[in-house]
């Protein structure tokens, strides 16, 4: 590897290549645990959607498809920028102009951070609207605007319980992802040798893409399927 000279190899490893493989394998295994973590909720969604499909149909009419679509677009652009940064740091040769590389990485990742914040703002605005309409599940839930079939059985609440649980957990992951990517933007734009952090960036990038992929499933399940 062209930049192996600038990487300090940690003790258990023989060389930089092995260390990189370990970092990436470790991240994939972590993401596998995350899939199982979200998996429990997706199973819950499947069960209740099967049992109460009418409630899910009524519930999804409260969601803004355009707003959700916009949020999806914002996330995907962020993912693209992370992929470009990862590519840039991977491909850069050791004698590249470090100042230019720093500026590019800082720019891409800074923009990703802002897009992430934009996504969360839109999501929280949606939460605000739903809560305003009395659709936050719990004792204060106001089902009066729904047909009797889903109102009297309280099954309509299940849609919103799952909506807030699943998108809320996703938002929590977004907060972590924004902190990580934002931190990387600062770190890389100040570092003398950004390439030393290539493994870190790849790992954080994988995490960011994963969080996006979860949303790619949440969007159709809660917004598009009516």
């Amino acid at each position: 590897m062209s930049h192996s000279t600038t990487i300090e190899v940690a003790l258990p490893f023989d060389d930089a290549q092995q260390q990189r493989s370990a970092a990436i394998l470790g991240m994939w295994i972590f993401l596998a645990t995350e899939i199982l973590f979200f998996g429990g909720l997706f199973v819950g969604y499947a069960v209740y959607r099967y049992e109460y499909f009418e409630a899910f149909r009524e519930g999804s009419h409260e969601m803004s498809v355009v707003g959700g679509g916009l949020m999806t677009a914002v996330l995907l652009i962020g993912s693209l920028l992370v992929a470009i940064s990862d590519h840039a740091i991977e491909e850069a040769s050791a004698d590249i102009d470090q100042r230019k590389l720093r500026r590019r990485l800082g720019g891409y990742l800074g923009a990703t951070t802002l897009l992430g914040v934009a996504f969360l703002s839109m999501e929280f605005y949606e939460y605000y609207e739903l809560i305003h309409k009395g659709l936050f599940p719990g004792p204060g839930f106001d089902a009066s605007s729904f047909p009797a079939s889903v109102r009297d059985t309280q099954t309509i609440q299940m849609y919103f319980t799952l909506f807030f649980c699943m998108t809320g957990l996703h938002a929590l992951h977004m907060v972590i992802g924004i902190s990580l990517v934002g931190g990387m933007a600062v770190l890389l734009s100040r570092s003398e040798h950004p390439q030393r952090y290539a493994n870190l960036l790849t790992g954080i990038g994988l995490y960011w893409h994963f969080v996006d992929v979860i949303w790619i499933f949440l969007y159709p399940l809660f917004y598009l399927v009516r």
Partner: protein, 566 residues
């Protein structure tokens, strides 16, 4: 202490134990061996907490009436016993103590792939454990270790959320350890250490790690949903507002059945190391034993419904889960048969670790066979929620896993400390544990079959004789658990030096000094031989004065890269 170690660390007298003796050097260590020791001390602590709860409720069960504990206190005690023993002893026992200590040594690595993550896992474990203890001190939880809804989510007025939080935190430690092991086994094997030269202990650790990584998150989400339901008063599992309480059971057992294999596969790994060494024979059917671990790990994910035969799940689901559960018996039996075949015509030395290993094989077989009984729908309905279940899983987890853990500790004690414990005390203790265990738990099979339900502190008078036997056995078992604490610590302080490889075992871990140096090997070993390369023909050892003695002075030597071998 130092003078004793001079003998076997010939190059100099530093090893991982005396390389830094301050508290700081232990609390901030990233050495997998020291972290293993930290885990050993902590799980021993939790083991005795969980054991103390068992002492109290076994005392209560001496009489048919509730005369010592209120029903609430009884409920809290068995919940405490289950939670602490499962999550803070059994699951971390072999993986986090012996696995941490041995995996890098066995595969010829300098450390685990992520040493700092390893240390972090210990801190997370301690945080989760101490948090759970705090819950117990402020009032406890009475849901049992299974947290069944809707009791846990709607009705229980004990500290359910806090207890769930302690377990949730602990889950991260499990995941971190499993992840670390998988990456280490994939990437850090020494030159020549191909997959099919790995000791079977490493294979079982790999299978266990897969379960830890893939099952634990599902428990986490199930517990989180209980917390959400209690905090926001929503109805995820509450049938009154459209929730499905069975969904919790599905999620819980999707974790907890595979978790049973987290609690037994590592024990099988330990036994697979001990048996060939003290039979002086290569392990019979290496490939089958290795693959059976992966088979158990993967089949284990498909059988959770056998905990729900009487829950009202569909009978067809019951049928399939029953069939799949019986299939798990095949890889388990493969292991038992191969250990037995290894013993056949072996030169068997009944040293302390071997006694534990033999105890494991017998008791695990009883636990496993009663498991097949329970996988049978009709029989399960008769004994569901009775002491039969209690007896069954204690035969697997205590008769199996705790025996294996103790066997492993005795087998690798010389490796960990460089000291040898008193062999006769060790053997007598193994016998005490075996007898005490059977007296404690065999009567519970009868109790269960006769219909005594679990989780009650009162019972009909005619059951008293079995309960008294069980409590007596439990107190004998208690002696067997306390005694090693004393003679092992004594041997660490004052015991004689064990030498580098007192059992003349053939694993790569024995090529390091005992105790090993900080980064394990002076030079990375080259592995050009299979696992368990015990000489195939005839006894190569005799027992003289309780010690293994080579029959010929010339033992096959490894081309070890440095000259410090014994």
């Amino acid at each position: 202490m130092k003078s004793g170690m001079m003998e076997h660390a010939l190059n100099n007298d530093t090893n991982y134990l005396n390389d830094g003796t301050t508290l700081r050097s232990w609390l901030l260590t990233t050495d997998h061996k020291r972290i293993g020791i930290l885990y050993m001390l902590s799980i021993t602590f939790f083991f005795f907490i969980g054991g103390a709860a068992a002492v109290l409720f076994r005392l209560e069960l001496m009489t048919p009436r509730g005369d010592m504990l209120s029903p609430d206190a009884y409920n809290k005690l068995f919940s405490l016993h289950g939670i602490v023993m499962v999550w803070f002893f059994l699951i971390p026992a072999v993986p986090n103590v012996l696995g941490n200590f041995l995996i890098p040594l066995m595969i010829g690595a300098r450390d685990l792939a992520f040493p700092r993550l390893n240390l972090a896992s210990w801190y997370i474990f301690m945080a989760g454990g101490l948090f759970t203890l705090l819950v117990i001190i402020i009032g406890g939880v009475d849901t049992g270790w299974t947290f069944y809804t809707p009791y846990s989510s709607t009705y229980a007025n004990t500290y359910v959320i806090l207890a769930a939080t302690g377990i949730f935190i602990n889950g991260f430690s499990s995941i971190a350890t499993g992840l670390n092991f998988i990456v280490t086994i994939h990437l850090l094997r020494a030159p020549g250490m191909i997959w099919f030269r790995l000791p079977l202990f490493v294979w079982t650790m790999y299978a266990t790690s897969l379960i830890m990584v893939l099952a634990t998150p599902v428990l986490a989400v199930a517990l989180a949903l209980i917390a959400v339901e209690r905090i926001f008063h929503v109805g995820i599992f509450d049938p009154a507002i459209g929730g499905d309480p069975l969904l919790f059971q599905h999620l819980f057992w999707f974790y907890s059945h595979p978790a049973v294999y987290i609690m037994i596969l590592p024990g099988m790994g330990v036994v697979s190391e001990i048996v060939p060494c003290f039979a002086r024979k290569p392990l019979f059917g290496y490939t089958f034993v290795a693959m059976s671990s992966l088979a158990i790990a993967s089949l284990g994910f498909l059988v959770w419904g056998h905990h729900m035969f009487v829950s009202g799940q569909s009978v067809y689901a019951g049928l399939i889960f029953s069939l799949l559960s019986m299939l798990v018996a095949i890889p388990s039996a493969i292991k038992v048969f191969n250990w037995t075949a290894t013993l056949y015509k072996g030169t068997i030395f009944l040293k302390t670790p071997m006694l534990y290993a033999l105890g494991f094989i017998g008791l695990f077989t009883i636990g496993g066979l009663t498991g097949i009984c329970l996988a049978t729908l009709a029989f399960d309905i008769h004994v569901h929620d009775t002491y039969f279940i209690i007896a069954h899983f204690h035969y697997v987890m205590v008769g199996g896993m705790v025996m294996a853990y103790l066997g492993g500790i005795h087998f690798w004690w010389p490796k960990m400390t460089g000291k040898m414990y008193n062999e006769w005390l060790g053997r007598i203790n193994a016998l005490i544990v075996f007898l005490g265990f059977n007296l404690a738990f065999f009567p519970q099979f009868i109790l269960g079959y006769l219909g005594n339900p679990r989780r009650y502190h009162v019972y009909p008078d005619e059951f008293q004789v079995f309960h008294v036997m069980s409590s007596l056995g439990a107190s004998i078992l208690g002696v067997g658990y306390v005694l090693p604490l004393f003679y092992l610590i004594w041997s660490y302080k004052f015991g004689r030096s064990s030498g580098q490889n007192p059992w003349h075992a053939r694993g790569v871990e024995w090529e390091a000094a005992s105790p090993p140096i900080k980064h394990n090997f002076y030079e990375v070993p080259v592995v050009d031989y299979p696992a368990y390369d015990y000489p195939p023909a005839g006894p190569d050892f005799t027992m003289s004065e309780g010690e293994l003695e080579p029959t010929s002075p010339e033992q096959p030597q490894r081309r070890i890269t440095s000259s410090h071998g014994t």
